[in-house]
């Protein structure tokens, strides 16, 4: 028993002792953030704005009366100024730096596009830069983790290292990860990677004008976007169709073609639609996971009556025909304030969360019970650890992996379900773009040249859902090397299905 106080350095002190790698990394991160300040601000405003208007809607519903206009007004004003500020922030890769909208005069020269490039090349360049940025950014985060492991972590090995290593050598999982990153990137950078913007293309078509070269009149003329869209709608006949990778009569480039009347750009629709899908999916899965994890740990820790109650509740929920319940809820709440937030998106997310939780809880229950039986849980009790801390520290880490697996495997189901409900006209109301609506709009044209309207969104859903499932598979195999190769889908296999 020596009396010397051995000093152990905290993370901060360890960094101070060897600041090099950390400094380089932070500088790099700042630089990367600075490059896309505007886009990051836009995303924040979009999210906060959504929440704020939901709050306003809720407040209107709850408080009602004359208080409301002022609150709503304040929020609207605040949002507007925030949007302006966000728009004013510099962006290296943005629509204003690399514009793709312009017109071509008969001499073949493009006006208004980036360096006079053809719109499709300007657009491609922007998309490539955005995805390049995303992957560089993620790589930089990974480098930060490596720097921490190599220079600052006190443990030379942790159980997580093995998982990371196994995930890195799992090609199917990595494929899933790339798909998921592309999807999330599409949602996050929707305003930048779309050929048009949401405001112009969907929400406020009448308020925007575009310039085009009118060959009949032989001059550059202006037309409102609404008008232009009407004239470039895809109706399935040869003359009334703007298909894949085509220009419309107003020199606008449509990578995925246009929708039916009023002929919006499908790619823009899809990119903004990714936002709503991701939002509904992640909120729903977040709710389901939080319920499943919380109840799973409580039932495993206390057993007995707690367990029985949850079994009863989840059985009740599971015995309901979920698709019908969802449709009914959308109908009932369609005029209620809850049904108005995100045009029904929040309602749908909450409902999906509730419908999905019983299954997830059942899947988590086994692992949770198993970890609750471990002696380290008893040990924690024996020295008086609080039960909530015991659950968080000694149980949650062991079910977190399962949560990730089930989460990523079920989010596909929610995306399909949302699209399905919207397809049927119950889910998310216009003008908010939702992939399912595109599918339903194009349904009548599948056999015509306008096949792209239904097919592309359908294909994209398949790819995204597969991606999430692949990621889930990868996480599962990384967590539990024994499951590799053999079929454990009975145990850990909530694959994404419909609602």
């Amino acid at each position: 028993m020596s009396k010397t106080v051995t000093q152990t350095k905290s993370l901060g002190e360890r960094i101070l002792a060897q600041p090099g790698p950390a400094l380089v990394w932070v500088l790099g991160l700042l630089l990367l953030c600075a490059l896309e300040m505007g886009a990051i601000a836009e995303m924040t405003v979009a999210i906060v704005g959504g929440l704020a208007s939901s709050f306003a809607a809720v407040a209107t519903a709850v408080l009602g009366g004359p208080v409301m206009p002022s609150i709503a007004g304040t929020i609207a004003g605040g949002l507007e100024s925030a949007t302006t500020i966000a728009a004013g922030l510099p962006d290296l890769v943005s629509r204003s730096v690399i514009p793709n909208q312009g017109y071509q005069t008969p001499d073949g020269v493009w006006h208004g596009t980036f360096l006079g490039l053809e719109p499709k090349y300007a657009w491609l360049l922007r998309v490539a830069l955005v995805y390049g940025y995303i992957f560089v950014f993620l790589w930089w985060l990974w480098r930060g983790y490596r720097a921490y492991v190599d220079h600052y972590r006190t443990a030379d090995w942790t159980p997580r290292d093995d998982m990371v290593r196994r995930l890195r050598s799992h090609s199917w999982g990595k494929f899933g990860l790339v798909v998921v990153i592309c999807f999330v990137g599409m949602a996050m950078f929707a305003p930048t990677i779309s050929p048009s913007t949401g405001e112009q293309n969907m929400y406020n078509m009448n308020a925007y004008d575009i310039q085009y070269y009118n060959s009949d009149a032989g001059s550059v003329e202006e037309i409102s976007v609404l008008q232009a869209n009407f004239q470039s709608a895809s109706q399935g006949s040869g003359s009334q169709n703007v298909g894949l990778w085509q220009y419309d009569d107003f020199d606008r480039f449509h990578p995925f073609g246009t929708l039916t009347s009023p002929g919006q750009d499908l790619f823009t629709f899809m990119a903004y639609g990714a936002r709503i899908s991701l939002l509904v999916g992640s909120v729903a899965i977040g709710i389901a996971l939080a319920l499943a994890a919380g109840l799973g740990m409580i039932t495993a820790y206390y057993k007995g009556l707690a367990d029985l109650t949850v079994v009863f509740v989840s059985d009740t929920i599971q015995s309901l025909p979920s698709l019908l319940v969802l449709m009914l809820a959308s109908m009932v709440f369609s005029h209620h304030w809850l049904g108005k937030i995100y045009n029904g998106g929040l309602l749908l997310a909450v409902m999906f969360g509730i419908v999905y939780f019983p299954n997830m809880w059942r899947s988590i229950r086994g692992p949770a019970l198993q970890v609750a039986e471990e002696e380290w849980v008893d040990a924690a009790k024996s020295y008086g650890q609080r039960s909530s801390t015991t659950m968080r520290k000694h149980m949650l880490p062991y079910i977190l992996g399962y949560l990730l697996i089930y989460g990523s495997m079920s989010i596909g189901g929610v995306i399909i379900g949302t699209a399905g409900l919207t397809f049927l006209g119950f889910g998310i109301n216009p003008p908010i773009p939702e992939w399912g609506r595109a599918i339903s709009m194009g349904q009548a044209y599948v056999t015509t040249p306008a096949w792209h309207i239904s097919l592309l969104p359908g294909l994209l859903i398949v790819v995204v859902v597969t991606g999430f499932n692949a990621l889930g598979d990868g996480i599962r195999d990384a967590m539990d090397p024994e499951s590799e190769g053999e079929d454990t889908s009975a145990g850990v296999g909530a694959t994404g299905g419909g609602a």
Partner: protein, 545 residues
């Protein structure tokens, strides 16, 4: 530290035992909501553990020994009875009292694979109890020659009268002198004390310059060394260690809060034989270094013999015999202890204790036998007077039949399945007549007796089988078999109980004191009217030859 304890020990030993258990019962109801029979894991035990003593607790799996150990550290709540720790009944503690008491009593688990959270580093694992209890709480003892009332403020708290204080302030002399307990990795220089003295009171303000975080880390390092690990193991994970090393970590964690009492729940049974001895030695050293009191749970009698001062033998929730280790091993008084000891190879080749094999498996603790818990398997069970002289074969058969019927009542399963299981048969019985034949004929079947296959009507077979049985018992047995065949199993069982039962199955024995050192045994045989255990076993074994 050791000097401190030695100073304390003499005064404390006079206070009586550290742990005293009275009429303790722990029942579990695992059957769900509908009030099924609870599992009577611990069914009324009394004993005491002295300070600094190691009490061994031995029993087969399912005897309730682990539940008893867990109840002592309040991991299970007692159904009835009390556990006095230093005179306080800890079964009634709750909230912060319970939490404070938990510092005093810790447990080391059986399986070091399961007792350490693999997602935490060794350092975090050992440190967690310290964090939970806000260790150290800088308890301050003020030694005032004038005995004035003392108040403590600042970082310190006032020490409880009996506890070793973290900081001791001596007021005699011009300036107060400060001493810091050895367990804290800091010197008196880090403690700043300001004293303001009034005529009737003293207020002491303490400020400590070292952070609790540093003290805890230092404490963990010191614990690592204490249990034979190294400082650099702090940041490793359990997976990087061998079983023996992990058990050392578990031991270090249990010692972190400086407990007085440690329950060791089969601490070496999951380990390689080669490291078992090392861990046992470590436990022994720690006991003498820190003056610990142990309850050592084991199913391995040989381990117990070397490490324990006294041993308690448990069967089906009851303590069958408890006493000084050597004495109990040399001269077991209880039939159960006797049978257990005869099953381990005798290290002394001159001692010719015969091996006794126990029939069947222990009954379910949901439905223990009435009377003595061992009565369904006891080889020297007391017989009613009229059957005292029947031969061993007859008695065995009667007991076997009773066991079959008993199990049949316990669980609603086919009687044949149980009979088969009991007799270790693979194939066989078509019906109960086969069972009877198997049970009562000397070599298990009628074939050797020349009963023609064609003649084998049920009645003939039963008569044939009972031929081997002592005539005194034949009549009631025949009647019982016929009742079973008439589907009146319960009546058959009752008839057998009525005819063949003695005190063993009817009355709970008492804990008879059987030696000068205070050993007790839970058995009717110690009543004056019956033969002693040793005599009974001698008779049994000689008749078997």
């Amino acid at each position: 530290m050791s000097e401190l304890l030695e100073e304390d020990s003499p005064t404390r030993t006079d206070d009586g035992p550290l742990v005293e258990v009275n009429g303790l019962k722990t029942y579990y109801d695992t059957g769900g909501l509908f009030g099924s029979n609870p599992v009577k894991a611990v069914d009324g035990v009394d004993f005491a553990i002295d300070r600094g003593e190691t009490l061994g607790l031995v029993g087969e799996s399912g005897s309730g020994k682990t539940t008893l150990g867990r109840t002592l550290v309040q991991l299970e709540s007692a159904t009835e009875g009390e556990v006095l720790f230093d005179g306080t009944d800890v079964t009634t503690l709750s909230g912060s009292d319970l939490k404070n008491w938990r510092r005093e009593a810790q447990i080391v688990f059986q399986d070091p694979e399961s007792s350490l959270n693999h997602r935490m580093t060794i350092g975090e694992i050992i440190r967690e109890p310290l964090d939970v209890h806000g260790w150290p709480n800088f308890s301050v003892a003020v030694n005032d020659p004038d005995d004035r009332s003392v108040s403590v403020s600042g970082d310190g708290t006032r020490a409880e009268p009996n506890d070793a204080a973290d900081i001791t302030v001596e007021l005699a002399g011009a300036a107060p002198t400060i001493a810091v307990r050895d367990a804290l990795a800091m010197t008196a220089d880090s403690v700043d004390v300001s004293v303001s003295e009034q005529s009737s009171s003293v207020s002491v303000s303490v400020s400590v310059a070292v952070s609790k975080d540093q003290l805890r880390r230092a404490r963990v390092r010191e614990l690592l060394e204490t249990v034979g690990l190294r400082e650099e193991h702090y940041y490793r994970y359990p997976h990087q260690f061998s079983g023996g090393q992990r058990q050392r970590v578990g031991i270090a964690r249990s010692l972190a809060l400086e407990p007085e009492f440690v329950v060791l729940d089969e601490p070496v049974s999951a380990l390689d034989v080669s490291v078992q001895a090392k861990i046992l030695n470590l436990l022994d050293d720690l006991q003498s270094e820190f003056g610990l009191t142990y309850l050592f749970i084991a199913h391995d009698l040989s381990v117990v013999r070397h490490i324990c001062d006294r041993v308690a033998v448990m069967y089906l929730g009851h303590i069958m015999e408890i006493g000084e280790t050597e004495e109990l091993f040399q001269n077991p008084e209880n039939p159960y202890t006797y049978s257990l000891l005869s099953a381990i190879p005798e290290p002394d080749p001159t001692a010719d204790r015969e091996r006794v094999t126990l029939r069947g498996t222990p009954p379910s603790p949901r439905d223990p036998p009435s009377g003595c818990p061992f009565s369904t398997r006891c080889p020297v069970k007391i017989r009613p007077k009229e059957f005292r002289d029947v031969d061993e074969h007859t008695w065995e058969s009667v007991e076997t039949l009773r066991e079959i019927l008993r199990e049949r009542e316990d669980r609603e399963m086919g009687v044949r399945d149980h009979a088969k299981a009991l007799l270790g048969l693979e194939t066989g019985f078509e019906d109960f007549v086969d069972v009877a034949e198997e049970v009562f004929t000397r070599n298990g079947s009628l074939d050797a007796k020349g009963v023609e296959t064609a003649e084998r009507t049920d009645a003939a077979r039963i008569d044939g089988a009972l031929d081997d049985v002592d005539p005194v018992a034949r009549e009631p047995l025949k009647e019982a078999i016929e009742l079973v065949l008439a589907d009146k199993e319960t009546q058959a069982h009752e008839l057998l109980i009525e005819t063949f039962e003695s005190d063993c199955g009817e009355q709970s024995p008492e804990h008879h004191t059987v030696s000068d050192s205070g050993r007790t045994s839970y058995c009717h045989r110690h009543r004056t009217e019956f033969d002693d255990t040793a005599v009974a076993f001698d008779d049994l074994l000689s008749s078997a030859e």
